[in-house]
Structures are given as C-alpha cells and as structure tokens.
Amino acid sequence: MGLFNRQVKKKPENGQSSLEGNGHPANGDAQTQPPLPDDNGAELFDVKTAPTLSERLGDAARTRSPHAIKALMPWLDKARSSPEGRAEFIDKTKEVAWVQADNTVRAISAGMGIADTRAFFRGDPPIEKPNPRYKVHVNAFFAHLRPKYYEKASTKFSHTFALGYLSLYMFMLETITGVILMVFYTPSDRRAYEDIIKIMSEIPYGQLMRDLHRVGAELMVLIVVLHMTRVFLTGSFKPPARGFTWLTGVVLLILTFALSFSGYLLPWDQLAYWAVTIGTSMAKSVPPKEIVGYFSNLIMRGGDTINQNGLLRFYLMHVFALPAITLVLISVHYYRVARTHGISLPAADEEDPDPAVRKAAKERIDYLPELFTRELLWAAITTFLVVVYSAFVFHAPLQEHSNPLHTPLHTTAPWYFLWIQGLLKDAFVLPAIRALDQLLIAIANMFGANLGEGATIIVPFYDSPAWMGVIIPTMIIPALFLGVPYINEWWEKFWGSKPSRQLLKNRKGTVVVAILSTVFMLVIWYQGTPFFGVTAPPAIEIGQAFLPEEGVLPPVPLVPDDWGPLRRLGYANLPDGEYDLADYATPKATYTEFERILAGIQQEIIKRGQEWERGDKVRGLPNPSGTLKIEQWQPNGLKRIDLVITWDKGIVTPTDTGQYVRTVFLHQDARY
C-alpha cells in the first residue's frame, strides 16, 4: 500500500490523469488494461480504416509494452512535432525512469527509496519522514524479526558479550556445515565410518567442513553455557517478565547437549560407540528401572546393544527431530527477548538514583544501520576465527572402527558430560554410605547381632547409577528451571536483600551459591576424567601412557586427541632394536627425542617400583623392569612395537605371571 501511495503522490501535475492509463483502448487486450477514467489519448490514433502493418505493430507496442513506456506514449507525438515537445519528452522520460528505479529500490529494500538507501549506506540520518528504516522492519521478513531499536545501555558489549547472538550464529554454522556433510554421509553401520574417511580423504574441503562442524558444536555448548552464566550474573532472568524466557533457555541448553551428544555417535568409531554406550546406559538407570529405564534404553538403542538401528535413530534425532525442536524453541526464546521484554539493561544503570543516568541508558539506538553493522562484524570475526582454528589448529578425531566386542581403556564421555561421569564414579555418597553401614554393623554387633564380614544393612538400598547418573543430574534441571528465577528471589528476600539485580551490592547470597556450585561442578568434572578413580593394573597404565589403545581425548574442548609420544614421534624416528630401559635410568643431555621417551618410560617404571616399596599395592609393582622392542614387521613400512614390562611374579597375586606386553603396529604412512 505504502509503495503505491507514494508513487501516486510523486506524480507531477502535467502527467495527466494516470501514468499507466494512456494506452489505446480500441485494439488493445482489454484484460491487460486497467479501466480508463478518461480516454483523452484515443483521438490521436485513427482506427476507422484498416490498420497498416506498421500501425498494427505500433498498436501492439502501445498496448503490450510495460506501463512505464505506455505512460510516455502521449508525449511521443509531441516530441515528433516540435523541439519543445522533444525537450518535454526527455524530461518526462527522466521522470518516469526515476519513478521506476525508485520503486524498484523500494521493493528490494522493503521501504527505502534510492535517496534513503544511499543515506543508509552513507551513514546519514534518514531523509523521508516517518523513518523509512522502520518501514523495513514492517515489510521485510528477516528485518521484522529484529526490533527497530535497542536501548543504548543494553547493547554494551561488556554487558552481554553478544553471547546470545553467537549461540544463534553457532546453530546456523552447524546447520550449514551439517547439511554439507550429509551429502556424503550414510547412516549405516557398514558405511558410516568409511564415509567419514571418504569425507576426510577424498572430498576437497571435506575435512574442513567436518572440523568446522566439530569446532562449532563444542563452541556452541561453551557459548550457551556462558550465555546462561551471564544472564544469571547480571540478574537478567528475573520474573515476572523474564522468568519464562529463562525457562526456554534451560530447555535450549538441554537441547544443545542432546544435539551434540546425538552427533557424537555418527562417525561410528570406537570413541563414538563407547561414549554413547555409556550415555545410553545411564538411561537404563531411570527409576523405576524395570519399566522406564529398560524401555527408554531399548528405544534409544534400537536393540540390546547399539547397532544399525541405534545409529539410524541417533542420526534421525541429530539431523531432524532435535534441530526442528531447537528451531521452534529458539524462535520462542528470541521472540520474548526481541518483542516481549527486550534485552535487560545493566542493573547499575537501571537502578541508578540519578534520573539522567537512567534516561541516558534508555536512549534508543536504531538497529539499522548501527547494530546491523556491528552484528555483521561479529559474524565476520567469528567466522574468521573458526575457519582459521579448523584449518590450521584443530582436527576432529577419528579413531578405529567401532568394535562392539572391545571397550578401549579409559573411555570417557564428551567433556561436557564429564561431570555426570564424575558423579557416576560416586566418590562421596557411596563411601559415606559404606562407612555408615560399617558403623551400624559395629553398633549392631555391640548389641550382640553378630554380623560378620560382608554383611550389609543400608548399602543394598542405594542404587548408585540411578542416583548419580539420573536423579541428581535431573534434579539440577528443575533447580535451573525454577531455582534460579524463583527461589533466587525468595532466597534474597530471606536474607534481607533488597529486590535488586546488582550482583555485588544486593545479591551476596547468589554470589556464594554461584561460587559453591561452580566449585562443585569443577570437582565432579575432574572426577569424570580418567585421572580420577580408574586404576587399571599398573603395567597396563604404563602401556596406556606411552602407547594408548586408542587416541586419548583430553577432558577439555577443542584439543585434539593424543596417541602417545611414541606414535607421535613417528615411524621414521623409531630405530629398530631391543632397548633395555634400565640403560636409560639417568637422562643425559645428549639424548635424542626417542631416547628421551625411553628415559620417560623408565622413570615411570622406577616410580611404580618405589610406590610398591612404600606399600602401595594398587599402583606399585614389585621390582619392575622394562624392555622396548621395535621390529620391522613387514618390508613395506610396518613396524611392530612391543613394550614389555616384567616384575616379580606370583607376588601381587598368586597366579600373577609377572609380565605385561603392549603391542602396537605402526605404519609409515599413518600420521598422528
């Protein structure tokens, strides 16, 4: 409507009644002509005699040409007859051309004319009134999603760090790279792994796309968590208006985890297979586990172990169901931020006693063009960083083909689930319950109950995976849902704080809770790493440290997996021979890289021996020694590395053989 009105208004007085209405009515296609209010051009053309060919062509041109040309027709004859008419015709042509061009630009820019478009790009204030840039927000779909303006203080970088924007950016990055990867990926237990190898070794930019997808996924988890932390610290979650937005944000956090976790299985390597096996086993413990746990595990896996069915289910979740739900929730979440309550102001500004400061904080900044430019810049910088990181620093790991018959040592969940894995090791509650049990037994025995070794009272009622893997993590979610927005307020009132959003002034209780829960999360996160609580036999641990079964994934995001120093050193730098590690007990400055590794193994062996001397029967070994044997196994570049560790046999256990061999093959082309 606006467009049409403007066009009519701009029309000059001598432009006759209508720009498009001056064609010849007699021979025209009636249906293409708008009804004419006044037929003052009709007498210019004589239609009584049979038309000649040129007249017919002229008629055709007049009636079928675009209305802009038709509008010029009345001036054409004047132009033929007189020089003034010619000048008038040229003026008229310019005018019509301007209207055409301006309308085209208005249509494309969804509201801004040529002059305003240039003013927009030049950085000048808008020319027309009302502000045509606001009109863009009404007319254009993508612009209508954004608010027309923000309050100035809410756009401070140090207030939001653009984390919400970057979360959405990562979601888009994941969608785009994910669709590209789907081109070559087949969710089949026979093809999936081969397809990943193909993407990495036969498709140009294939590895980059996979790395971008991986980097984006890990950053997305990181940024969403940081975004949530920021909202918590600035008190931007407070009900009534923002409580529900926080709630949708919690659901989005869970969806981000679910998206990341469902994608974890798809490469179908050992890393993927066992991490997801552990993850789905947690579902097995959901009480009542005979019903809910049993069936939810079966439904997720599509069988009693993860197989073709499970892979397909995870794939469909990853590429279809979860992104669809996420998109809907992002829309709800964003709608509330953009339309219902806006980005919160910094609490200090909002609560400032000086009305001038409060007023300045609410000063408007138009989205177009200032904030739009800023967002484009953020997108450009993030893209650059992510591309550089994926291209030159980080490559997504791909380990051996999944083997349902063998669990690699020190299998871990992805880093963002390590806290659950730490809970599952149950370092606090189970020992406490055991101790309590011992105490109860002692008390019972005092009263003559005569409970012997192995008797239990309360331990059998404690189901560790159910509590630690499911119930406590699930309780954290309602805590996030309700606790943060609603209990927080009650809590602060209870301690007599004024209802305020300023962190250090009025929310001291919040600060204490935040610090405590962060420390708790870090502790259980550390417990989730293989450094805590998983002790394989000491000789195997030495083998794992220097020649791991599979690449060991560090417990932090965006660091590639590590295949141990010997593999990293590479085929070419491993001289054949049998090395008695005792010869390398005292490191020398002249050692080569290889010899330094030998010395490192020997140090570890000596340490184990000392631990045994100190009486540590779990980590120590009696009188250990080691040999490293490197043999050319096949003439075409295959070496065999044997790490042999021997110790006094029959001491640790009666049947102990006193020897452990870790064998690894290394091909000259394999790179780690």
């Binding site: 093809r191 036969e202 430019t373 810049l377 893209t383 650059f384 051996e400 083909h401």
Partner: protein
C-alpha cells in the same frame, strides 16, 4: 570504535577468511593424498592386530605359513598385484586384492593347490559375518590390506568394503554352496541339456558361438577370445567350481559378464552342463 572502523574491520576480516579458504584449497590435493595414505596405513595396522588374533595360528607369525596347517601368505608370487599364474590358472578374473578379500570373507571349500608339494589339514574357514564368520566386513578389509602389504612394490589398498548386498539375488555365490551342489546338481539328462541349450542360446551364443566353439559374432575384436567349449584339451583344465564362478560372477578382465543376478543357480548348472557336453566332462576330476 566508530562505525567506519567497524566496516573496515569487517572488510579486512572477511577478505582474510576468503584468503584462508583459498590457501587451504591450494593444499587440498596434497592433504587428501596424505590422508588416503594415512588411513590405508591405519587399516594395515589394524589388520596386523587381527592377523595376530585370527590368522597367525595357521599362517605363521609373519605369514610364512605353517607346514600342514596353512599356506604361506607373504609369497611375492601369490601377491603379484598384476595377477599371478595361479589366479590365472583357476580362472580368477578379478584383482589379487579381490581374491584375497573373497577368500578371507567366504573361506575356501577346497584345499589350496597353490603349492602342490604341500598338503593342509584344515579348510580355510569363512571369516566374514556375511558368510557366518566372526568378523565384520571392515575387519576383513583391514586383514586384506595387511596381507597385501607383503606384496612387492606399490599396492592399491582396498578402501571401501566390498559389501555384498544381502538378499536372495546376492552374488558372488560362496564357494561352499557351489561345492554343496557338486557333484551333479543337474544330472546331464536330455532335459537338462535341452534347458541348458535354451539358456545358452539366449545369453551365451552371441559370443561363445552357436557351435559352442567360441567364435560367435560378439567375439569379434576381443583381446582374449571367449572360451571354446569344443577344445577338449582346454576344457579339461576347467573345473566345476571355476566354471560356475565364471558364469555366476563373470571374468571382468576378459569381458565375461556376471550372470549370477540374471540366472537362477539351477539355470547356471543347466548351461554349464550344456557347455560341458561336447567334451563329456560331466564328472569332477
């Protein structure tokens, strides 16, 4: 930060991203080559581990073979990648890699005749789970790559598993099934031969000739002429298993198509009997 500065930054950063992408693209060929080798190498490493678990007890620690149990595998004459006399003798049309892969996957119903002076106590069992064995297809591929790594010179690693499509029309037909069908899945009766002739006329005659002499019109210009079924000296070396394999799975190198998907097993035996009729080679030698 002024708006102009932001715009300038945006331009520079975007241009830098484009440059990074282009630089990355320049090295892609090189990188992809390295990765192909990398994954081929890893496949060989994995194969070496499986070899220790499954193969070493019969074929020896380093593929040297164990007398009376399993033949050597590290022999260059077996692994000559251009095709070995042995593979030619048994009429194998595929590559050495295919032969190894199929032998590991589907086992071997006959004792190896590669080394005539040796005899072996055990059959090669089927290893792929496709044929009732314990190994997944990717493990068979890794084993194949490991064994091929004994070959002299450049080798072509088997990258993708040769996955047989499961289902009733699946080919290749595993040799133990062929063996099950021998001797005489089809007695060489008049009826068999008549049915065999029908099949022959429809599918084989164009190249192998109306007179079964290998001089059909379709044979013109072939580098290696089709099998002459009238040449009894030549036919005497053609065993039932090889004959069946040639019909069912074809000999790609010579241009013989695989008929296993088109013909039923019964029809294949009928046409084999018809083809063996001129020399009366109806009994397994």
């Amino acid at each position: 930060m002024s708006v102009q500065f932001k715009i300038l930054m945006g331009i520079l950063v975007t241009a830098a991203t484009v440059v990074v992408m282009l630089l990355y693209g320049i090295n892609e060929d090189n990188r992809m080559n390295q990765y192909q080798k990398n994954f081929a190498g890893r496949s060989i490493q994995v194969g070496a581990e499986y070899y220790e678990t499954y193969c070493m007890t019969c074929h020896g620690e380093r593929g040297e073979g164990i007398a009376g149990k399993g033949p050597p595998l590290n022999r260059t004459d077996l692994l000559d990648l251009k095709g070995t006399p042995y593979l030619k003798a048994i009429g194998w049309g595929g590559t050495t890699a295919d032969f190894l892969h199929n032998t590991i996957a589907a086992g071997r119903p006959q004792f190896s005749k590669f080394y005539e002076d040796e005899s072996y106590q055990a059959h090669m069992p089927t290893w792929s789970e496709d044929f009732g064995g314990p190994l997944r297809p990717d493990q068979v591929v890794s084993l194949t790559n490991f064994i091929l790594n004994w070959a002299p010179g450049e080798y072509e690693p088997v990258v993708a598993p040769v996955t047989p499509t499961p289902g009733p029309t699946a080919t290749p037909i595993p040799p133990e099934e062929i063996l099950k069908a021998i001797p005489f899945p089809m007695p060489p009766s008049d009826q068999t031969l008549a049915s065999g002739k029908d099949v022959y006329t429809k599918y084989c005659q164009a190249c192998h000739g109306e007179n079964r002499d290998g001089k059909g019109p379709g044979a013109a210009g072939m580098a290696k002429p089709p099998r002459d079924f009238v040449d009894c000296a030549g036919m005497a070396t053609l065993g039932f298993v090889t004959h069946h394999d040639a019909v069912a799975n074809g000999i790609p190198a010579n241009g013989m198509p695989a008929w296993g998907k088109k013909l039923s097993n019964e029809e294949i035996w009928q046409v084999i009997m018809y083809e063996r009729e001129p020399c009366k080679l109806f009994t397994p030698q």
